[in-house]
Symmetry: C2
Subunit: 304 residues, 2 copies
Amino acid sequence: MKCSKCGSKAIYHQKYSGLYLCKECFIKDVERKVRKSLGKKIIKNNMKIGVGLSGGKDSVVMTYILNKFFETIPNSEIVVFFVDEGIKGFREVARKFVIEFCERYDIKYKIIPLKEELGITLDDIVKIAREKNITLNPCSFCGVMRRKLLNKYALKEGCNYLAIGHNLDDISQAIMMNYIDGSIEKLVRLGKDAEHPLLVKRIRPLKYIPEEEVQLYADLVGLKYQKEPCPYSSISYRAEISEIIDKLEDSHPGTRHSIVSGFEKLIKHLDIKMEVKTCKICGEPSSGDICKVCLWMEKLGLRV
Amino acid sequence: MKCSKCGSKAIYHQKYSGLYLCKECFIKDVERKVRKSLGKKIIKNNMKIGVGLSGGKDSVVMTYILNKFFETIPNSEIVVFFVDEGIKGFREVARKFVIEFCERYDIKYKIIPLKEELGITLDDIVKIAREKNITLNPCSFCGVMRRKLLNKYALKEGCNYLAIGHNLDDISQAIMMNYIDGSIEKLVRLGKDAEHPLLVKRIRPLKYIPEEEVQLYADLVGLKYQKEPCPYSSISYRAEISEIIDKLEDSHPGTRHSIVSGFEKLIKHLDIKMEVKTCKICGEPSSGDICKVCLWMEKLGLRV
């Protein structure tokens, strides 16, 4: 097939748009959509964008594209944050990818070891929970902890925004899971950033890019990233939802886009605002009196 | 297994609650939930409830239970509306079920033949659309047309409410379809009744009763209803969504309830109000200047 845009040899069929795209037009298409989703309010002078870079394909592609956009804009920059949770045999590899990537593209970066923040690694936290027979989902803990640390450092560095590498598949799955669970609070938190001087506004530059295209972009551009999954990853419910959405996308191309765009319309009309408090233990922003990380640390007898 | 409530022999395992129920406790459970979903604002003196009765299991069970509730309440009554769309070999059977049912339980009823309302049957409408090569989904047309007629007659009869026999499966499917399509307007229309003097408020007494339980209730009580599906029914997309929700309900009992209760919470916080106009052709309430039925009739050259 020929590229629907330029007539060269197509390498990708974008079912939801009906287009066939060649390598160059595919790359342009991804970058154009990322640029559009950010808009002129973000891609402009005097911007500092914090970027959460894990070393996986999504955050690597996001950082690469953001760097491409911002390296030519005067007085603007991106700064990478890598949280090293302390997962033996896994995070050292990611760390190496992240450092090599940032040095290659001359991007400022900051490594945030959990050991320095909480005095303990995720491996040890999981071990202690097991020893004490306390149910702890490493992914849930890691999620709130990373969110907290990324915000803390983005604020410290004076970032205007914090970019997170969720792709279209991730976001449509999260929306669907919360629709099904009927969790209004989680839906609001997913769609609206609470306004607070201690919270850096989050952006999701890849929110309209399907995972398949993020992967293809990385491969076509020749980006290196960590391929193996986290040893703690156990995403059975999410995998179930992912399978459902994949199937629907297959029979009705555009399903993921309509889930996300419908949700964005919906959330604009919701009259719920999330309250933001400051954690009585660590002083970081929190939805409750004590933030979830400090609650866990207390529960595990690891109060810092 | 023994009934979790009374210790008799259980005939049903209600997975989402964990209960085993005997025949009597099952029937009580269904009726208690219908009563609760209606509440004391509806089950009281001086009420007139219009009931859309199609002759299928859902509306038969709904009408039977509503009649049971209202027959002992002074100055309150239910009145059945049966729309005869004119579907040869199908609606005559339904009509017979409906008349026998209403006469057996001494319920006032009104037959509304489409032929008298629009001067034409659904069969002829479908035929004309085919002859003129106009794409018309009989189910969509029938849906808006029945909605319009039920409202018209409920208003004419002075009903305080109009009861529709949608069960938990129907409603969770509709919600999920609209979440996936991202149709905010349809979600609002599904969850909130527009306020207008020409619109009778709709209630869905079976909204928390799974289809499986409606079926079992009908069989246990010995209700007769039309079993064959409408010859026009072609619900491929709905069937796909239904299959997905059935599978999720199976692996996570309670999914349907959480979809519906989450949606009800969500809709309360939506600041969208549907505008209600009156159709310039027929004078009935409509979301546009001309109602969907009149639009269709014009398109088919059947303007009344």
